[in-house]
């Protein structure tokens, strides 16, 4: 309770600081609108459905790409961990591409797929996939050999070994890879939405883009806030429970 109170106090202070900066006219109101204007925009956008619609479209793109990235990344990571030949080839490629900032995929995606959903999906998948491959590979390699040996003597082999021993043992690594993948997917989707202006649906990134085109700073800031809140919620709702479960089981400190 005390922690929550302090956190609320902190954010209230930030808003107060903002309000003060606005009133002091340090910057032009066009560049720095009042908190109230931003709140007003949010209220209107929420009421006329723009915000909800844009969030839905963005989340659909994000989740589709993210899931494809994980579904593709996990088996690839297992392959690279299990066989040297895959490690030297796919593993090296994954390592290289993982270092590539995901926004760098946008020009290529635009030329390949044009202004389309496919282009955005491609960018999100590329953002997710390689982190998941690397994390799975690292996780599997870090499984203490004694777990495998113990399981072997109890009659575990092949698929049972993979699903009941190696994957669970690698779980802490895999989850942190999934979390990193999520962050990359989110970043790359925003980059894609800002650059890819298509008519198949207005996402949050596009709202942000048009806020700039219209010099509507309240819209820009409001959408940025929404994006931050979604990122926070995803962390608190999805990743935090998994991580705290892992910390409890493994006895690692959070």
């Amino acid at each position: 309770m005390k922690r929550l109170g302090l956190a609320i106090l902190f954010f209230a202070f930030l808003v107060a600081l903002w309000e003060w900066a606005f009133r002091a006219r340090i910057w032009s109101p066009v560049l720095l609108p009042a908190p109230e204007q931003v709140a007003q925009y949010l209220k209107n956008a929420a009421e006329d459905g723009t915000l909800f619609h844009a969030t839905l479209i963005t989340m659909r793109r994000l989740l589709t790409g993210y899931l494809i990235g994980i579904i593709g990344g996990l088996p690839l990571g297992l392959l690279t961990a299990r066989w040297k030949i895959f490690h030297d080839t796919i593993g090296t490629m994954a390592l290289g591409l993982q270092t590539l900032p995901s926004v760098c995929w946008v020009p290529l995606a635009l030329l390949w797929f044009g202004q389309s959903e496919a282009a955005m999906l491609f960018v999100v998948v590329m953002g997710t996939l390689w982190s998941v491959v690397i994390a799975t590979d690292t996780g599997v390699r870090n499984v203490p050999p004694i777990y495998r040996r113990a399981a072997l003597t109890m009659g575990s082999k092949r698929l049972h070994m993979w699903f009941r021993v190696i994957l669970p043992a690698a779980l802490p690594f895999i989850v942190s890879g999934m979390k990193q993948g999520w962050a990359f997917a989110w970043r790359s989707l925003m980059a894609a939405e800002i650059f890819v202006t298509i008519l198949t649906g207005f996402g949050l990134g596009q709202l942000l883009h048009y806020g700039r085109e219209l010099s509507a700073m309240d819209q820009v800031i409001a959408i940025m806030l929404v994006i931050v809140v979604i990122g926070l919620l995803a962390d608190k709702i999805f990743f935090s429970p998994i991580e705290s479960f892992l910390h409890r089981r493994w006895g690692t400190s959070p």
Partner: protein, 277 residues
Amino acid sequence: MIFRHKTGSVTEELALIPPSKLAIENVSKSFRTSSGTVLALDRISLSVAEAEFVCLVGASGCGKSTLLNIIAGLEKPDSGRVLADGKPVTTPGRERLVMFQESALFPWLDALGNVLFGLKLKPNLTNRDRLDVARYYLELVGLTRFERANIHELSGGMKQRVALARALAPNPRVLLMDEPFAALDALTREQLYGDLQQIWTSRRKTIVFVTHNVREAACLGDRVLLFSPHPGRIQEEFPIDLPRPRDINNVDLAARASRIMHALKSFGQTEAAAVAK
């Protein structure tokens, strides 16, 4: 009391099964290291009777753990073979379960989940039966209250108790123990000596127990086999005919242990002398 509603298969699962007879015939194994090839085991032959408790003692690096792994089927010998009840051992199998030195318990499962792991791989049991069997063994090692505990919450001694329950649960004929108590404090160890002897008497298993602790070997074993390193060979054999249960602090036991210790040191010196020449 857990077995008020014993089903047929649980009774069967918990029934005593005949322990195995082991025959190790001319087993050799060498390893390549950066400083050349090391002969870890040099034509080891050894037979272990049904329900016998054999301790392998020696300095670290004498190949005793390697022999245990070969008996388990986790490693293959370069030459020679291991027979369990007359059948050659080629792969690991739940007839011969291993209890490792460091905790090999799975941190993603709780205590009960760990004991259940091997049971789930046994066909022809219902999940209800498996649960009953797992709880029986947790009770046997005195950890009924901790079945839902995470592994990291258990003390070192409790961890090894869970490991013992896990190794016993699939009802193996042979228990292979690789320095299972080495990392524990003296008091906990003493307790476990008592428990292990009792369990061995009640569950009738053939046990091969590897240790570098001479006193421990004399306390637990029917026979203590002394290994010499480089190359790994069985140097000497000490039958221990003291009555059971044995107390680690018993005077007769201490006398046996010091005899074994003396032998252990003497070939250490001959080896040093050989190196000096």
